[in-house]
Symmetry: C2
Subunit: 353 residues, 2 copies
């Protein structure tokens, strides 16, 4: 599918450097995805002057003025009730009524989740949407979910996340038979809590189309042992941030090592090309854009501190989900499961005991 | 306190490369801690020939023969009931009856925890012991617990872990006023589950001597934001292994970058000295040795795949705990808390709601 019929709604007011990085990010994204159309929601008086300096975007974007916005400290419930004319809400509304194929925001995560869930609704067979991201591994790229939308999860939630991640890996990452692992503290059947044991029992049962690898541990995430890592939102959030922190520590130590002596500085000059490639591959901006999976629409959250390059990648995630037909595919899978199992809602927690 | 009156019991049969790496590790440890005495438990016919080739250790070690051992796949309950003459059990018994100041084993983690808890007992005021380790951060070194001994924890468990970690940081890491953080998915009061919110409410209440920083996130672990990171065993285990995996991925990518071109290989030759220092600092063997805190004795678990250098570090952890008076200090703190609070056992979960 070409990208020139895809329309993306942007919350121009969300993020530390909004609206400038949002607009410059969209301009960047048009290099990679020519012809994408943007619906920009936010303060006209701030957007107009910026847009005038962006030649590609100004010809393909429509601006929808609103002076309201969700603030970083707003509680999700408050943002949901009180901010019906906010840039975030209007951008999500555009997806719900079919004017846009997806929405991207760098604003308040909790508010975005709450409003997206309320406006777009969850897919049939999905109780709670999950946040997912893909990330570099020693073997390529994998996807992990949930990253914090659901602090406490039962076995049924985890099975649904596995299904969402599986379809994402098939459609957007292009894996033919993705493997799915459940994050745990060991690989033996008895390890972990009721939720992971119950989910494993169901996934092993073969009622889903998923190629279930079994339990994986923390070091399997970056090893690329599986294509999809499934976990609850508490653990997933901690794991993702821990990995980012560890890479940051290592990078800083490396930088310090290269400036520690004249010999090391000379060495850096020789190795610079190779090291730049390494830095590019592990640049967190390349992996910016967390997907809300399980909704009847495409919604992507950019990191609040993202720059234009990072925001462009978050736009790319939304475009790729649309282009690769993620929603149609997940609807089809859920329908097939529903037809095969008369009671897909019953939890399997007890099966593990 | 000098190290030459310290006696350490060794489970010579635990670990992938036992008994050789255990004995060679003890020989290594004697370089750093001269005069430490070792009680070695295991198969005499395998230990004897190895010991004959280790000049320092052979003069300061006593060998206690047993042909039984705990196997890697033994269930903890099974090891506890059936293996009363195992090398692991006899080494722990030596601590319980005062013949040794601490025990070090690279064997089955669950069995070691179960037997140590049963034989050594928990300290008064501590419901469940925790596994802790220290690790490198961008600012130095910090300690984290629990790492997997307690998969599900309530607020009271987390408060007890905070107290254990605080005393460890004061005595073994030598911090005057260590800061303690609770691992969570955000820093705001409302974030997280009941356990972390309840523990935070109690720690903020100031009933403990702890300098409570508040919630920390995954990237704060390696940032060194706090001296002590407190979490449940599920999250702690995943976080630690995730950080190890991320560092491993980065190191491998770095190695690949340096062999990617002739220029890069030349650069490596110049920078080798500085890079070796970096590798040394982040060498996981330097941080080998997880402490079981909360017991009435010193018990340290070495990684099962450790080599002699790593095992020597695990011995060093046990020696440092004894030398710095960890047990006396934690007993004193618990006594003081007990005197100050008539009902130290009541949980504070409800206080957060």
């Amino acid at each position: 599918m070409a990208t020139d019929s895809i329309r993306i709604a942007l919350d121009a007011m969300g993020g530390d450097h909004a609206p400038e990085m949002v607009l410059r990010g969209a301009e960047f994204a048009l290099e990679r995805y020519p012809g994408v159309q943007f619906l920009i929601f936010g303060e006209q008086s701030r957007i107009g002057p910026l847009l005038a300096r962006l030649p590609r975007l100004s010809t393909t974007a429509s601006v929808h003025h609103t002076s309201e916005m969700v603030l970083p400290d707003d509680k999700p419930s408050q943002a949901l009730r009180a901010s019906r004319q906010s840039s975030m809400r209007l951008a999500i509304d555009a997806v719900a009524d079919g004017r846009a194929d997806g929405v991207v925001s760098a604003g308040n995560t909790g508010a975005l989740m709450a409003i997206a869930k309320f406006v777009l609704k969850t897919l049939p067979g999905i109780d709670r949407p999950a946040m997912a991201t893909y990330f570099p591994t020693r073997r390529g790229e994998s996807v992990m979910l949930d990253l914090g939308a659901n602090i406490e999860c039962d076995a049924e939630n985890l099975v649904q996340f596995a299904l969402l991640g599986d379809v994402f890996a098939r459609t957007v990452l292009g894996r033919v038979e993705p493997t799915v692992g459940l994050l745990n503290v060991g690989s033996e059947d008895l390890k972990g809590n009721d939720a992971v044991r119950g989910a494993a029992a169901r996934l092993r049962g073969g009622m889903t189309p998923i190629r279930f690898h079994g339990f994986v541990e923390g070091d399997d995430i970056t090893a690329g042992t599986v294509d999809v890592v499934v976990t609850d939102g508490f653990t997933g959030n901690v794991a993702l941030k821990t990995a980012e922190g560890a890479v940051k520590m290592f990078s800083e130590s490396l930088r310090a090592a290269f400036s520690a002596s004249l010999m090391a500085r000379i060495g850096y000059l020789f190795a610079r090309g190779a090291l730049t490639k390494l830095r590019t591959r592990t640049d967190p901006r390349r992996y910016n854009g967390a997907m809300f999976l399980g909704l009847r629409g495409i919604a992507v959250k950019s990191h609040g501190a993202a720059d234009a390059f990072g925001f462009a990648n978050a736009i790319g995630v939304a475009v790729d989900m649309k282009r690769n037909g993620f929603l149609d595919k997940i609807r089809g899978e859920l329908q097939r499961l529903n037809d095969a199992q008369p009671t897909p809602q019953s939890t399997a927690s007890s099966a593990a005991l």
